[in-house]
């Protein structure tokens, strides 16, 4: 369990939990920290979060499975979120999703064989003025065309490094 976060990180989180009047409110902060370190939250991650927060694993699990930006299954180094809500849909998000499937050779929900990208649909990213929008890892791309995608993926691979 300790391998998910360093002893120092665990101690820091535990200290914040004791200092907070309502420790449970930190559950997302702890889950974010674990996901930040490992990319996703494993069963061991749930148990670690529970231990830090003084909750049962079930209490943490019902939070973790509720939010779609907490990943309870392994994902690639970068998750590609393709917005499929109304504004992006009206400006071609279906073609964006199809092109990404072609370029990556995977279906939505899958991860590329090299472990680089996971492809997921997402609800509105709040970028309706720049539709269609795609988020890759921490980067938001607006006014994307199918022709842009090969270059965008190349840039993301370069940024990720070997």
């Amino acid at each position: 369990m300790a391998m998910l976060l360093s002893e120092k990180q665990i101690a820091q989180l535990k200290r914040r939990v004791t200092e907070t009047p309502h420790p449970r409110e930190m559950v997302l902060d702890v889950l974010h920290a674990i996901q930040e370190a490992k990319g996703w939250v494993s069963d061991e991650g749930i148990e670690l979060a529970a231990a830090i927060l003084g909750l049962t694993p079930l209490q943490v699990e019902e939070i973790a499975t509720f939010y779609d930006k907490i990943y309870r299954r392994p994902v690639g180094r970068k998750v590609i979120h393709v917005c499929d809500s109304i504004c992006c849909w009206s400006r071609g998000s279906e073609a964006i999703m199809l092109r990404l499937q072609q370029l990556l050779g995977i279906a939505p929900g899958e991860t590329t064989a090299d472990g680089m990208f996971t492809l997921l649909p997402t609800c509105c990213l709040g970028a309706c003025g720049d539709a269609p929008a795609v988020r890759i890892g921490k980067n938001l791309y607006g006014r994307v065309t199918p022709e842009d995608l090969a270059g965008i993926l190349e840039g993301e691979r370069t940024e990720a490094g070997p």
Binding site: I63, Y67, D68, D84, I86, C123, A127, C128, K138
Partner: protein
């Protein structure tokens, strides 16, 4: 083209965020100063009530009235929660505000807390807005260093702390009681009302909940006064300005601040560049994904709460989403309903099971396999779901279905009669 001096967007510049120094240069924190120095909390509440400000998050409830239910003068822990979940498709105004000028929100929160006797505020921000979170963190640090946040603010004896909470993505968290559960670290199913949050909210304590844009209006009401603020609107009963979104099939999408009561057609033509690709206007969502459609017959309507309610729709978040004449309204409605069905928290049956059924019916009709029986079932679901769900999510979800059946029944029937989508074939 109408010219309007912006309030909330007065510091907005392309790709640049204004922080404390710039915010102060244009009169920033004068409202807080005035409230703390010259006004009692009750006087601030009275001014906001007189301003006729209505909630900008979607429901449009009177802010002054909401605050009047709050036990401001009673002792004990109380909270202000700023709803920054902004996950209604077509809505991206709060993000624009936080990218332009995060201190605007902080000043609004501080004045609201002073007015309501609150010492602790939370900003609940959606997961996708990482850039906004960074802006807010920097702004809070600046405010603390300048004596505008923390203990004894501006030497007035008023104390206030603001905490930023980042969510992890779910539409239902924008529902105020689901948001409270989320903040507390519980599964964000909505809570039963009553008790209302003003009585028993966050951690069981009285809690005031307001949207980002709503709170950002408060400093202007305090500096300019309620009468001036009301006079900014183009309608008699309206008040203030609005951050309107322009998205969908529009030539130049974006977010623009204009008076409440802007005529819909004028907004689309003058500030959105009209319908894209020289096509014609077919319909729009006037205020985000959950507001029933308007059609070309409604382009003269004033974008204000009451006039839109008279047309059977809502101003909602002010996020206008335009559809051109090539859009299939069955397909558009199906897209919207898939969003709501996916985002349902699953707590109550009408929403959890009803919305997927509505999606299935729309899929049948869109794919040419629909019958008149399916259309009747769609009308039936409208009656079954509306008013019977635990929270407003399902009610909002049925808004587009209601609009579809009200304005585009002929198009739906055409799908059934031809056995295919008339706009695709």
């Amino acid at each position: 083209m109408r010219i309007c001096a912006p309030l909330l967007f007065k510091n907005r510049q392309p790709s640049r965020t204004v922080f404390l120094e710039g915010y102060r240069k244009t009169g920033g924190y004068q409202g807080l100063k005035k409230a703390l120095r010259d006004m009692t909390p009750a006087a601030v509440r009275q001014e906001v009530k007189a301003s006729a400000l209505r909630g900008r998050g979607g429901a449009g409830f009177s802010t002054g009235l909401k605050w009047s239910f709050f036990p401001a003068d009673e002792p004990g822990d109380k909270y202000l929660v700023c709803n920054g979940d902004e996950m209604e498709p077509g809505t991206f105004k709060d993000r624009q505000l936080l990218l332009a000028d995060p201190h605007h929100l902080l000043e609004g929160i501080l004045i609201a807390c002073y007015a309501l006797g609150i010492a602790t505020a939370y900003i609940f921000l959606r997961d996708a807005y990482r850039d906004c979170a960074a802006n807010l963190e920097r702004a809070m640090a600046e405010a603390r260093d300048a004596g505008l946040l923390g203990d004894n603010i501006l030497g007035s004896g008023f104390n206030c702390e603001i905490h930023l909470h980042r969510s992890a993505g779910r539409y239902v968290c924008g529902e105020e009681t689901a948001l409270l559960n989320s903040l507390e670290g519980r599964r964000p199913n909505p809570r039963a009302k009553p008790p209302f949050p003003a009585v028993k909210g966050l951690f069981g304590k009285p809690t005031a909940l307001n949207n980002i844009e709503t709170l950002a209006n408060v400093p202007h009401i305090i500096t300019g006064g309620a009468d001036w603020y009301r006079g900014l609107a183009l309608t008699e009963q309206g008040a203030g300005t609005k951050l309107y979104g322009l998205a969908g099939h529009i030539e130049t999408p974006g977010c623009v601040e204009l008076p409440i009561g802007m005529p819909l057609g004028e907004l689309i033509r003058d500030f959105g560049g009209g319908v894209w690709q020289q096509r014609s206007f077919k319909a729009c969502l006037p205020g985000g994904a959950s507001t029933p459609y308007l059609t070309a017959a409604h382009l003269d309507v004033a974008l204000d709460y009451d006039p839109l309610e008279q047309l059977g729709t809502r101003l909602g978040t002010g996020g206008v989403v335009v559809f051109d004449d090539r859009t299939c309204m069955v397909a558009a409605t199906l897209n919207l309903l898939r969003f709501f069905a996916r985002e349902s928290c699953g707590w109550c049956t009408p929403c959890r099971d009803g919305l997927p059924l509505v999606c299935w019916l729309l899929e049948r009709i869109e794919s040419g396999q629909g019958s008149h029986e399916h259309l009747a079932m769609l009308q039936e679901q409208l009656r079954h779901i509306n008013g019977r769900s635990f929270c407003a999510l399902a009610l909002g979800a049925m808004g587009p279905v209601e609009g579809l059946l009200r304005h585009f029944t002929e198009e739906v029937v055409d799908h059934i009669r031809r056995g295919c989508c008339p706009l695709k074939n």
